[in-house]
């Protein structure tokens, strides 16, 4: 019981871990390339949470200096994650573009079917 | 020129000659003239060093640092002097022979043949003059690589598979055993320089020393110590001049030369005998010596028989080094030269028979002596020298080997030597007997016509046969040279 009480307040990490593992699971388990990419996105998203949630200080305001406010949330994680989001979007866009071209070139985006065709090529 | 410059010149001259040789690819006469001129010049350069070395000079070149204390450099000492002289002198003869053989057989890609050959000789001389283990290893590997194209020269399946065995075994042993042994030496001794008395004394426990010795002995695959000998018969698919110079002289002798050099200058005779690490090697070398002689008896292919004979003769050198007395080591070193002259003659004859009559098996040689009297006479001379009869060079080296073994109290080695001489009588002389005393199939003795190999081949094999005799009389001088290995360095 005491362990649960200890771990419960860290729920933000539990969510991160859940998202991370489900994302990774989708990447591994799904044969459809688009679904894989969805999983990958989920996986990356979990990282945003990992960075952002410890940066929030309860009762803190956005980090803009103003009279009467002493406690600010950490600004740095937001900046980092903004960059990470851009990277994530770029990866997603590139992945989707690749999938479109794979579909044009092979006529399918299912991995097991692709591997069959791949063998014919070789 | 100073001696040091001459040493550098001797090593690099053949390598440099590859450029004009390749450029003259479309003009065979010019190409071969260049080869011959280079060979002659190299021999003169090498021989010009001999008197100085006998007098006690030890010319050294500047060292060129590679990394972390590993250096490239050359230094001449008596053993290397002998090996370099043998290789360079016989290269001249072999070039004459090659011209006759390659043209007579109409072999393809002769330019690459001459190029690879020059590189091989360059590296053989490099091995002979190397001042430390690294330099030796560098040229050792270049020698392996440059001779691979020569072995696979014909390009058919047999040649390719022979080449595969050749490169895998030689590169393999040197990479897997020799290289770690060298690195271990470097780690233990802190140096790789060849030093009188050895560099390993007192650096490691006797067990480690014995293991290192094993790594060296089997790592030097070119010495063809059984059971790592089978690359040599496989390499016999090469054209005969290759078998003659490389697989009777340069390559295999580079192997046993390295064996002697390592035992004398890396381990040190006293270190070895002091801890008894050499005992096992005596038995392995003896076994190798006798077994390969026995195999040679069973081989019908002439070149294969000669190859196994070579394996056996190489074991003499290793055996002498393993006995590790000064006399036996001098005998070993002398055997490098004596066997070279004898075996190259035999290979020249085998090649001459192939060029003239396309015969490769011993059983096809009935009456060959009547058709090729000069060739078979030379063959007889070579055989007798290998067997160790006076007045041929081979006698002296065996004599010294036996004396050395008695010094060390290894009487059984003497028995091995005598037994193997008997065996060599058994596998060499029947060929001569068959050639002279049996009529060729389908002909009678009277109607046989003389048909010898091209003149260039004949000249070459007559020179080497003569050399077998000359060496008998030069043995004293050579012994004097070699004993310099153990003399304190002369103050010049």
């Amino acid at each position: 019981m005491s362990q649960v009480a200890e771990l419960l307040p860290l729920y933000n990490y539990w969510i991160t871990i859940f998202l991370m593992i489900s994302g990774l699971y989708i990447v591994v388990a799904r044969g459809n390339m688009v679904k894989k990419l969805v999983g990958l996105s989920l996986f990356q998203t979990s990282v945003y949470l990992l960075y952002l949630s410890p940066g929030k200080i309860l009762g803190g305001t956005p980090p803009i200096i103003a009279e009467g406010f002493e406690v600010y949330s950490a600004p740095l994680p937001h900046v980092l994650i903004l960059t990470a989001i851009v990277v994530g979007v770029a990866t997603l866009a590139l992945g989707l573009a690749l999938i479109v071209r794979i579909n044009e070139a092979f006529g399918t985006i299912e991995e097991d079917e692709l591997f069959d065709r791949d063998d014919d090529d070789a | 020129m100073t001696d040091a410059q001459l040493v550098t010149l001797a090593v690099f001259l053949p390598a440099l000659a590859t450029v004009p040789i390749s450029l003259a690819a479309s003009r065979p006469n010019l190409r071969e003239a260049i080869s011959l001129a280079t060979a002659a010049t190299t021999a003169v350069v090498v021989l010009s060093l001999v008197p100085g070395v006998i007098a006690g000079a030890r010319p050294e070149t500047a060292r060129f640092s590679i990394f972390a204390g590993i250096e490239l450099g050359f230094a001449v000492e008596p053993l290397g002097m002998l090996f370099a002289s043998v290789a360079s002198v016989l290269w001249v003869v072999n070039t004459i022979y090659s011209i006759g053989y390659m043209r007579g057989n109409g072999e393809p890609r002769q330019t690459s043949f001459y190029v690879c050959f020059a590189v091989a000789i360059s590296s053989a001389i490099g091995i002979a003059f190397s001042a430390n283990l690294f330099t030796l290893f560098l040229f050792y590997e270049i020698l392996t690589l440059s001779t691979y194209p020569l072995v696979a020269h014909r390009g058919d399946e047999e040649a390719r598979s022979g080449g595969r065995v050749y490169i895998l075994l030689l590169l393999g042993t040197s990479m897997v055993l020799l290289l770690p042994a060298i690195i271990a030496t470097s780690v233990l001794a802190g140096t790789l320089d060849f030093t009188q008395g050895g560099i390993l004394a007192g650096t490691a426990s006797p067990v480690i020393i014995a293991l290192l010795l094993a790594a060296y002995m089997f790592g030097i695959g070119k010495a063809a110590l059984m059971p790592l000998h089978f690359w040599l018969p496989a390499a016999m698919v090469a054209p005969t001049p290759v078998s003659a110079l490389l697989h009777a002289v340069a390559v295999v002798k580079a192997g046993v030369f390295t064996v002697v050099k390592v035992i004398v200058y890396v381990f040190g005779l006293d270190t070895l005998t002091g801890i008894g690490a050499n005992e096992w090697l005596i038995y392995v070398a003896s076994a190798s010596l006798l077994l390969s002689s026995l195999i040679a008896l069973t081989r019908d292919n002439l070149k294969a028989r000669l190859a196994y004979s070579t394996v056996s003769q190489l074991a003499y050198v290793t055996l002498g080094a393993a006995v590790a007395t000064t006399t036996s080591v001098v005998g070993s070193s002398l055997h490098i030269a004596m066997h070279a002259a004898g075996k190259i003659t035999l290979f020249f004859c085998a090649g001459a028979i192939y060029v003239a009559h396309h015969k490769t098996e011993v059983s096809q040689l009935d009456g060959i002596g009547r058709k090729m009297p000069v060739t078979m006479a030379a063959f007889l001379v070579g055989s007798l020298s290998i067997i160790g009869m006076p007045p041929f060079g081979g006698m002296w080296s065996k004599w010294l080997l036996g004396l050395g073994a008695l010094d060390a109290g290894q009487a059984f080695v003497v028995a091995v030597l005598m037994l193997s001489s008997l065996l060599s009588v058994g596998y060499l002389l029947p060929i001569v007997a068959r050639g002279f005393f049996r009529p060729p199939p389908g002909e009678t003795m009277e109607e046989v016509k003389v048909k010898e190999a091209p003149t260039a081949c004949l000249i070459a094999l007559m020179i080497t046969a003569t050399l077998c005799v000359v060496l008998f009389f030069l043995a004293g001088d050579m012994q004097l040279l070699l004993e310099g290995m153990f003399a304190p360095p002369a103050q010049l």
Binding site: I64, A97, V100 | -
Partner: protein, 139 residues
């Protein structure tokens, strides 16, 4: 949809305000939430809305693909250029202090220029992605 008068008129009415809002978000980025990313997306949304209502071809006439594709590197170039301006004014790369007469204004100007670069790139990227996928399957 092209015939739907209400949608067309409303859209035409909306577009300038959307652009104006984008500009507000862009310039207000210094003081509150906002900045080049958001403004770029809103600007791109304007173009995309136009394309949805009036069709791809007229949009491509209005905002040619070559312009869109040039916007992506152009924005990055603006950003890099501002950074390089730091060299020229004798500071380290990305130091905007000497872009204007004093440090505070210099920093402000630098950040504004950088945000402008971000706007151009983000807007260009968004429209480019839209063009690429909207254009597929037609030809």
């Amino acid at each position: 949809m092209r015939l739907d008068v209400i949608v067309r008129v409303t859209t035409k009415f909306f577009l300038p305000f959307m652009l104006l809002f984008a500009l507000y978000v862009q310039l207000h980025g210094d003081f509150g939430p906002g900045g080049g990313f958001q403004a770029g997306v809103i600007t791109a949304a304007t173009v995309i809305l136009y394309a949805i209502i009036f069709g791809l071809a007229p949009t491509m006439r209005l905002v040619p693909p070559i312009v869109v594709e040039s916007m992506v590197p152009l924005g990055v170039l603006i950003f890099l250029g501002v950074g390089i301006a730091g060299f020229v004014t004798g500071d380290n790369y990305l130091n905007y202090s000497h872009l204007a007469h004093d440090q505070v204004h210099g920093q402000e100007l630098g950040v504004m220029l950088v945000e402008a670069g971000v706007l151009v790139t983000v807007c260009g990227t968004m429209i480019a992605i839209f063009y690429t996928f909207a254009d597929r399957g037609r030809s």
